[in-house]
Symmetry: C2
Subunit: 445 residues, 2 copies
């Protein structure tokens, strides 16, 4: 693995091939917002489906949920966001620039001098990171709603609904994927930190005496998950939150970090949130959020173990991790070593040449395969160039229809990683591809 990836190469490939575009680009863009193109949206969908499948389909005690972005404003008082979800900002009285107090040099803050113009700075004031809007025709305090800054609260306020409508017993989990919004002053690193982003959060409800056991269980489960995505193990690590880094609700917290081209950064947090959230919602809503164990007859407010992952960060991770360059016959081959279950295109289908009925034959094969897989059909240009274009977007398989196909009904199946080619009978092709996806192991591991 050559580790040849840089952010410049990645951003460029993402735009050129249709993974990620700057949002509203024709109007000069909008504060680090990004749009996911044909390949990027397919990859993002696959990451999301894979997470949901792992969480809900494969765990019979974890159920899915999909809650509204706009919630009752009391939710954010109960959660502590109205009070605490703030950054300290200072203004320059001279040049009117605004800064995060924790991001300007200490001497400027101490002398209250603007780092840009030397003018006088105001005292730091707390700026709330929640986006706010008004629902209904009146723009007054009574109509304020926030765009949720996290998906977790949508799960907590539905705890009773889930208990009543399913037969789940503790321990059990609730999983949700959805958008969240934070009015970040400093967005950066491509899609890594943006104002609008997607979270994949699972909240696991446990008996308070079992919190450590389940925290350790989920810590292990979640790192295994990234291995299953085909990410290199030496690029992943845990990072524990020290006592002074812990959020006000957390008893214990670990991040899973990935080594991005810009350094080790958080992918996912695993938090023991204790009974903080359910107790706060009990206090603010006057609704009982306790749980009755029907066997022991014990009534208690469960502890919550949270696994909170960023979908956009996961996407940036798999792209960074997959990017590779190697020299083949004197030329640089760029290849995205994406796990086949994530690759936006599963197979390219190519007639060697258009003529002599090969294109028609290839079309029939493509039509059959596309019932099950995402297929890219391409009949133009040299076959080597067609392979390279698929390598660059991570397509794990290419199927080539040639003159032998007409004789013996076999095609060439070409592997992205090894560039090896084998002959496969057309009738076995779909099953072969399905088997290869399941059996995939990244080379070099």
């Amino acid at each position: 693995m050559s580790d040849s990836v840089t952010m410049e190469k990645l951003v460029s490939l993402c735009k050129r091939r249709g993974f990620i575009f700057q949002s509203s680009e024709i109007y000069g863009g909008l504060a680090s917002a990004w749009d996911y193109g044909p390949l990027g949206s397919a990859l993002k969908n696959r990451l999301q489906s894979f997470w949901l499948r792992e969480m809900t389909q494969l765990h019979e005690n974890i159920v899915g949920l999909d809650t509204a972005i706009m919630m009752h404003p009391r939710v954010w008082e109960a959660s502590g966001h109205v009070e605490n979800f703030t950054d300290p900002l200072v203004d320059c009285k001279n040049c009117k620039r605004r800064f995060r107090a924790d991001q300007i040099p200490d001497e400027n803050l101490k002398d209250k001098k603007c780092p840009e113009c030397g003018g006088e700075l105001t005292e730091p004031r707390n700026f709330n990171l929640m986006f706010k809007t008004h629902i209904g025709p009146l723009e007054d305090d009574g109509s304020i709603v926030f765009l949720r800054p996290e998906t977790a609260q949508g799960i907590y306020v539905n705890f009773r609904n889930i208990l009543q409508s399913t037969r789940q017993k503790i321990p059990f989990g609730i999983a949700q994927v959805g958008k969240a919004f934070r009015n970040e002053i400093t967005t950066k690193n491509f899609i890594f930190r943006t104002c609008e982003f997607e979270q994949m959060e699972m909240q696991y409800f446990v008996h308070p005496s079992q919190d450590k056991k389940w925290f350790d269980y989920w810590k292990n489960e979640r790192i295994q998950y990234y291995y299953k995505l085909g990410v290199r193990k030496n690029k992943l690590r845990f990072s524990q939150h020290g006592p002074d880094e812990l959020a006000h609700y957390a008893k214990e917290a670990f991040d899973i970090q990935y080594e991005f081209p810009f350094g080790w950064q958080e992918l996912e947090g695993i938090h023991n949130r204790t009974d903080y959230d359910l107790k706060r919602h009990t206090e603010f809503s006057n609704k009982d959020m306790s749980y009755l164990d029907e066997i022991t007859k014990e009534r208690y407010v469960p502890y919550i173990i949270e696994t909170s992952a960023g979908l956009n960060r996961s996407l940036l991770m798999v792209l960074s991790d997959a990017y590779d360059e190697e020299t083949v016959e004197g030329e640089t081959r760029v290849v995205m070593r994406l796990h086949p279950r994530l690759a936006p295109v599963t197979a390219g289908v190519f007639p060697l040449v258009k003529k002599d009925g090969l294109a028609e034959k290839a079309r029939v094969i493509a039509e059959t395969l596309k019932e099950e897989f995402n297929i890219f059909y391409d009949q133009g240009g040299a076959i080597g160039r067609r392979y390279r274009r698929q390598d660059e977007i991570g397509t794990p398989f290419c199927v080539t229809i040639d003159y032998d196909t007409k004789d013996d009904d076999t095609v060439t199946l070409r592997y992205r990683d090894s560039m090896q080619q084998v002959r496969v009978n057309v009738g076995n092709l779909a099953q072969r591809i399905a088997d290869e996806i399941k059996a995939y192991k990244r080379t070099g591991e």
Copy 2:
């Protein structure tokens, strides 16, 4: 088909079984916002995946896209939303109530008398339906951003990016699923009209001379799509927009309507939007949005045929359409006749009794099946009750493990619609279920 569905029954079942909950319910709810529970979120995901698969995987000339909710504010000037996306509102000077001018009786409007208190009404004023917020720390005009009121514009502003990053030639389409927001004064009919909702929009770019041909093509394709979802044909119809109903950008428009329990209402619109949008974006962005036909060398601004469907409405439609009651052995059986490809749970797996190793055997079968399907395992209570609970949520298949299973490795496969039972070998079970899903035909059709 008994057509026994009412909104009361549907809303009650949705809450009781975990399809749909009132959002922020413990805080008294929020203006007609809804959360999708374990079954509702699964059903919504399946509807979304089915639409995306039909559009992109099965059409090689339609690509996916997923754009940001917050876009550059100039987008909404170009689209006409800042100017035209308004409702006329009047205020009562006496009781301070606010009304949509087009929803109060004509005589009240004429006499300027409040329909509630008889007080004097103001002149109607236009109220813009876009939600607005501020990005960055300053709440001034320069920081205003809107929550998108439709997903279509995200497609138009990326037209050039798609042309450059894919090799699509006209005609081709771009498909997107995502949230949109409208500050509706009158929300109603459960999830039918809400402020926060999800659209499934596909924009098809065509030569201006071919607009009628492609309009008719998509009109037919889209009604066929609803038949594929298993919806009854007599509950679907087209409704053409008359000349005075057409939106300012539209040359021709048809709605596909479904007969909900509250009457015939729009599910999807099919619009010939002409070259209006691309020309407006050219004007406002100063970027060339034309297309060069490389064969004829003709350069032109394409026309757009739009198919715009509501995901939440589709969900309400499939639930309404599936709901059925029948009398079985003197009791009312509630059964959701959902298409098996949409049903949140594909199969219930039940040991006839817990003892004698049947539960262990059933667990092994459930573990194998859940690799491919959403499985609900249940070992408690009378078998008839367990079947009924699955009927009510639309689970198309139940698998029962009994004493014969231990002898001959067969299980009972029970069909939701007919309640018929057949014996199937355990080794053939997964393939049999997959085949049944593909072959499904709704009874009575």
